[in-house]
Amino acid sequence: MPAPNIDRTLVLHVAKLASLSLSDPEVDRFASELRRIVGYIEQLDSLDTRDVPPTANVSVDRAPGRPDEVAPGLDRDEVLAQAPAVESDGFAVPAFVE
């Protein structure tokens, strides 16, 4: 496939998908660095992989499932102590419903 044009618009689009706020100089720098890295990755195109199955994981076949049983979890107070903000025994976040 033709190399994508990795410009400011694409970097800003991807940054939005990744929930990353980037500064203006960062957008320019990442666009230029990603162009080079993706340019290098394009070498994979030289391989014919039409009949090759993908490998998602190298050895899960011998990993057994775990019995679905109730077991003690982490201590709630110890976990909540790590939260940036707590309200009514839960994680507090800014409003997200208009």
Partner: protein, 487 residues
Amino acid sequence: MSALVHTDRDVRAIADRVRRGEVTAESVTSASLARIGEIDPKIHAFLHVASDALDQARDIDRKRARGASLGPLAGVPVAIKDALVTRGVPATAASKMLASYIPPYDATVVARLRSADAVLIGKTNMDEFAMGSSTENSAFGPTKNPCDVSRTPGGSSGGSAAAVAGAMTPCSLGSDTGGSIRQPASFTGTVGIKPTYGRVSRYGLIAFASSLDQVGPLATDVRGAARVLSVIAGHDPRDSTSLDVPVGDYEAACDHSVRGVRIGVPSEYFAEGLDPEVQASVRAALSALSAAGCIVRPVSLPHTRFAVGTYYVLATAEASSNLARFDGVRYGLRSLGPAGKRDLRDMYGATRDAGFGAEVKRRILLGTFVLSSGYYDAYYLKAQKVRTLIRRDFESVFRDVDVICSPASPTPAFRLGEKSDDPLAMYLNDIYTLPASLAGLPAMSVPCAPTSAGLPVGLQVMARPLEETTMLAVAAAWEAESRRTLP
């Protein structure tokens, strides 16, 4: 008490003396702490030294005084990569995102070290979220190579390698996603093992790329690393990728004869870009193994040159997904961003912008891009297919040989700053360690003859899945030979 010294103060010597009561865990731990205090201000291997290290040691001494038998790592100070969580002790993954995070649980490997009567002496520096090959991507400043402080110790487990190379601890734990144990071991003259994918539990390892990550030991010698591996290996119901298969006797494997063991030497690993002195050192080790009775023969792994491109698609895709958890909600940093409109999405964006360093952002962006609509098939799916080809290369070669040997890295340790402004050059440094990671194979680095400038060189030994024993036998045979022949 004098500092720990390689060879006479290795993992086994310490544990066995503590078990026999010839030395106390407290005195060993004091010596380790003194050495850290003496040289770590120059090296910066540690992000955190455990305030309760001496208490842990005294508990072990009391346990022995009560007549209880001690575990295989009795009184051995172990340094832990800061990507592993330890209850009540900071775990930052060398990121501002987790600068003040205190985990509420122990990683399984940490719990196993405790059960083996090891002393958890501190947490080591690393590239942020294990993304890097030099430990320069730490949010808390780089680690220096104890063999030459103008050079990097490699990465991402650079702090764990430097702790061992600097004789601060006889062993440490690292994690290896694309070479992050083997390359620093190679750069610092230590032994580092990446076990088979699934051999060691990752429960409590802060995830980078889940189809690749594996925890493993670094140590002053092969047998010491083998003993630590025996302690941490084995099935863990808390890690769904952990294999329920028998664990070998890794220490005994170091005494197995290597006569008749077939070693494949892939021509693709001795190609352009390989430092001539590294090549000579590795070739000399292979000649010695041949003289010791191994059958050394050339093999071909034709898709090797595609490993870097494949890895940097798959690892970044997985990282972009794994690192989505750092959103300022449950733990770690929260930033609300500039005043004014402050909704949840603004908080996510501002938190991630403030918490992540440049390399982590670069990889999240690349990983999100290769998974995004319109590009998934061309990059992510393509890389998964090439991963199959790389894996098949190994399957084919392992029909004819028992292990594969190569350099662990194309060059000795590079200088601090030498590659830090060129991400692609940094990535290309991983070319010899990435293929075994993509194929899920056990692989390790063991020191061979240093360069004329005295810089360490690592011989990489790779084996079939779950055949750590064969790998260790070859590594130990070379180590024995090297101690006989090298200064």
